[in-house]
């Protein structure tokens, strides 16, 4: 039949492709690291890994990249780890997953090589708090992020410290430049919205989580969500924030179409790029707060963990790899090659950091104040329910008070139902 010949060719092709699996030389321990690409050039990371292999003869590291979409990465890790897979030894974790994975028993205890007291002393507070679970170190911080207020230095005299000042400055700028948006942020139904919400709550002195329970239906939370909604209703933020993620806000700001933006540090080098319309006219400041003190930004960033179920030899090698990748030298490489903010305090005092990446060095006070989102194994579950309600409020479907009441009810149900 006519299909026969092509079928044979295909089977041969598949066989060839499948056979292309080259294993490590016999007698070596193969450690698999699953990570998200840090940038288009994998070179510096590979060099770090090669350094490790030289220092640890007999260990060969295989790098496997996953998609950068955070939810997809979470899904893949949950599927493999949940099925008891032993094909990964070290992997990256978003700051909000550590509690969850630790509770599930998927993270090896790293306290022997990195005792909690030392982690607290050497790393920034926020990430240290996120990786120490039940008094044991479950992961090591790799790099950190924090929510920042970006502003146009040519439109705004000095960065506003309070919410009223922000609104006033935004209105003044909008009056001077028609078509300008006052303040762009992330209001899409996803985790970025939760970050914006928590920042607004913390800035009003609220905490959103206390005594092991989510506190979403509090006066501070209601005020925070009402303020966010009010930005849209009052015209300070365009309606499009209801579907905006980081890039939407960044591009609008980069085109000179907004006076203020809330975003992560990754935007800075893009804003200062020669092709940017606002190059040289951008400032960065802490988020505002009700009292005028610098408002805490949400803590972001990634950690490295070791699979608890990996066989002992691989687990030990993976642990050493993780320690190597989170060392002070590695922090510097990440900052220099990929613009990632080091998680270690001492890195910020290193003159090489200021020389290689002055912006990152300047972020230190803001990173010190970065506040983690509620550290609880329920975070991802409750986060899902919370995002829906926050989005309903921001887009005008529901009042903020009603949305938070519902969010609290769902959070209680979820946390109450599971042990």
């Amino acid at each position: 039949m006519r299909l026969r010949a092509p079928a044979i060719v295909l089977l041969a092709l598949l066989g060839a492709v499948a056979a292309c699996r080259s294993g490590p030389p016999a007698g070596t321990t193969r450690v698999v690291l699953r990570y998200q690409p840090l940038g288009p050039d994998a070179g510096p990371l590979r060099q770090l890994v090669a350094e490790f292999e030289r220092a640890n003869p007999g260990v060969s590291v295989e790098l496997q990249a996953f998609p950068n979409a955070t939810d997809l990465a979470h899904q893949l890790l949950v599927t493999s780890l949940g099925a008891g897979a032993q094909d990964l030894d070290a992997f990256v974790l978003d700051v909000v997953w550590v509690a969850e994975f630790a509770r599930a028993g998927w993270l090896a205890d790293l306290s022997d090589v990195a005792p909690p007291e030392r982690v607290r002393a050497e790393f920034l507070d926020g990430p240290a708090e996120a990786v120490i679970q039940g008094g044991r170190t479950r992961a090591l911080p790799w790099f950190v992020d924090v929510g920042l207020l970006y502003y146009r230095t040519d439109l705004v005299a000095e960065p506003p410290r309070t919410y009223e000042a922000l609104e006033a400055a935004a209105r003044a700028a909008m009056a001077r430049a028609p078509g300008l948006a006052g303040y762009v942020w992330q209001g899409r139904e996803y985790e970025g919205l939760s970050c914006n919400f928590f920042e607004a709550v913390w800035g009003r002195g609220g905490s959103a989580y206390a005594d092991g329970r989510f506190r979403l239906d509090t006066p501070e939370a209601r005020a925070a969500l009402a303020w966010l909604r009010g930005l849209v209703d009052g015209g300070i933020s365009p309606r499009s924030v209801a579907v905006a993620a980081e890039e939407d806000a960044r591009r609008a700001f980069q085109e000179g179409r907004a006076a203020f933006m809330r975003n992560w540090p990754y935007a800075w080098p893009l804003l200062e790029d020669p092709a940017s319309r606002v190059r040289g006219r951008v400032g960065v400041a802490p988020l505002p707060s009700a009292s005028g003190a610098p408002g805490p930004g949400a803590l972001g960033g990634w950690q490295l963990g070791v699979a608890a179920r990996a066989p002992p030899a691989r687990r030990a090698a993976a642990t050493r790899l993780v320690v190597h990748l989170t060392s002070p030298e590695a922090n510097l490489v990440l900052a220099r090659a990929y613009g990632r903010n080091p998680a270690r305090r001492a890195s910020y005092r290193d003159p090489r950091l200021a020389a290689a990446n002055p912006f990152v060095a300047r972020l230190f006070p803001l990173l010190e104040r970065a506040r983690p989102r509620p550290v609880t194994p329920y975070y991802v579950m409750i986060g899902d329910a919370l995002q829906g309600e926050l989005s309903a409020a921001v887009s005008g479907l529901r009042t903020p008070a009603e949305a938070l009441r519902r969010a609290q009810a769902q959070a209680d149900e979820i946390a109450g139902a599971a042990p």
Binding site: M1, L13, C20, Q64, L72, D87, W264, A275
Partner: protein, 267 residues
């Protein structure tokens, strides 16, 4: 339909389908920093360079072609005889087969991802391309089965009887007489199965972890940083990934036309 009406309609459809694709191609030539503007100030090939860096995309296209063609071959090889049997032969459970196939195609893929992961791991096919062909075939089988069943049913009944009377075995009659006449249905099914395998993302991402075995949708999903969404590079990669498939489709079309004209001459 008059020729004029036909051409106008065709042009309208082409515009609807191709203009957005044209925009995609234009975006692939657009400098990233200018994406938020109405039109680019210049066209650039830097996105293509970025897309091709590391050779991952070319390998992904090869992998997807291999998986797609294998899935198509296996799915058709299984579906054609079964569809023929349902349409023209007698056996119990025809309803069960068609109904069951339909039911299977109704299932949300996400729910099957975990059990399949465990199953593939058990037989050692996890993280292999043949391991992808297995679920792809099963989940594209229902559509091929139903389509081919109606194709075979549309063929005149006497053909089969005549062939049997002439001394053919049932399989011989199927192979030599009916199958060639079902060419248009086969070509259509082949295209649909191939497109399914080509576009499938969820299983590919769940089962494949080695970078060298990635398929096109996975490679495309990997562009981007944590917050960055470099759509321009994705556009370049998508354009590159689409071209080979369009070529495959064009080649296939010729076969269909050849099959049709051959059938017409014979008939």
């Amino acid at each position: 339909m008059s020729a004029r009406a036909a051409w106008t309609t065709a042009a309208a459809y082409l515009a609807f389908f191709l203009l957005p694709f044209g925009w995609l191609v234009l975006t692939s030539l657009w400098p990233d920093a200018e994406l938020a503007r109405a039109l680019p100030s210049r066209l650039t090939l830097e996105n293509y360079a970025a897309a091709l860096r590391g050779g991952g995309l070319a390998r992904a296209v090869a992998n997807s072609l291999a998986v797609g063609t294998a899935t198509t071959a296996v799915a058709l090889a299984l579906a054609a005889p079964a569809a023929f049997a349902v349409a023209r032969l007698e056996f119990r459970g025809r309803g069960l087969l068609l109904g069951g196939a339909l039911a299977i195609s109704m299932f949300p893929p996400i729910a099957t991802a975990s059990p399949l992961y465990v199953g593939l791991r058990a037989v050692g096919l996890l993280d292999t391309l043949p391991g992808l062909v297995v679920p792809y075939t099963s989940f594209s089988l229902p559509l091929a089965l139903w389509l081919l069943t109606s194709t075979f049913r549309a063929l005149p009944g006497e053909l089969y009887r005549a062939a049997r009377v002439d001394g053919c075995t049932p399989f011989g009659a199927f192979r030599r007489v009916l199958l060639p006449l079902a060419a248009p249905g086969l070509a259509t099914s082949a295209l649909l199965v191939f497109a399914f395998a080509w576009n499938e993302l969820l299983y590919a991402i769940t089962f494949i972890s080695t970078p060298a075995r990635r398929t096109v949708p996975m490679a495309l999903a990997l562009f981007g940083g944590e917050f960055r969404d470099p759509f321009v590079v994705l556009a370049a990669a998508s354009t590159l990934a689409t071209v080979p498939v369009v070529l495959v489709a064009v080649v296939f079309q010729r076969r269909v036309v050849a099959g049709l004209t051959a059938g017409a001459v014979k008939g």
